[in-house]
Amino acid sequence: MYEVVWPRGKRTVQGIALAKRPNTLAGKTIAELWNGGFRGDEIFRILERELEKRYPGVKFARWEDFGRMGGAAEDKVLAELPLLLKSRGVDVSVGGVGC
């Protein structure tokens, strides 16, 4: 029998509460945050079409506006993202594609 200890260390981050969700996406501006891979260009276009059918007035801040979320400049891109999201009047965000 072995009595073993824990292999991890204590967390260094505190949990944040998730942002308050709207009741509907009608009239909202949706940001598309794409990491540049895994068919995100196709997927976001399909999403746009389907959400436009369901929610009148929905708008998109497209992934082309934000640049690639990743790569060598990722730290810089993510540091600048909050200001970009605010300047585009973004209400909610969809990111992808994680593989």
Binding site: Y2, L78, V94
Partner: protein, 199 residues
Amino acid sequence: MATRASVVPEQIGIPSVVMVCKGFETAAEFTAQGRGTFNMPKAVFGRHVDTFTTSELEEHVRTSIVDQVVTALTVQPPDAKPRMVDPDLTDIVFSGTFEEVNEHFYTNEWSDGLPIVPPTVEKVQAFLRFTDRRPEEAIGSLLPDSREATIWSIAVNGVMAGCRPEHMPILIALVEVWPTLALACAIQEQHPARRCRSI
């Protein structure tokens, strides 16, 4: 990458969801938790997106992903807390046979499934004899889970990996430089099962 970006809106009060392929949910959770988001909403593809034909992808997004995205953005998820209280460094967290210890560590995602040497206090202390540094000293915080790397936890992981006690100074040196390596940071966050060694 996708999850790291998707956490940013939440940090400034904008609801967010990340789309991931089936099989990568845990990787996304680790990454989100390491940035303080313990219940990051996800929309999960039924399989890897590269295996869909164009028409299958269209159908899958229309009939599954859109609904998941809408739910994630319009239904308030419950506030989540860390799933377990962190034990103290020297607490005994499990007792069992070699096989049971390995199964327990694998189940808790403390190992990658390869066999580990059970980290007993005696074995860890043997490693600590090869450094003058205090066991509780934190060298830094490591991704993806943003947890302290202490002299103690380095020794524990050295035991698990099958290192010899005299390897301890090298293990400490590796962890000291690890957070400064861009490659290492990328590898750490892309997938929990991915590993990198550098000597």
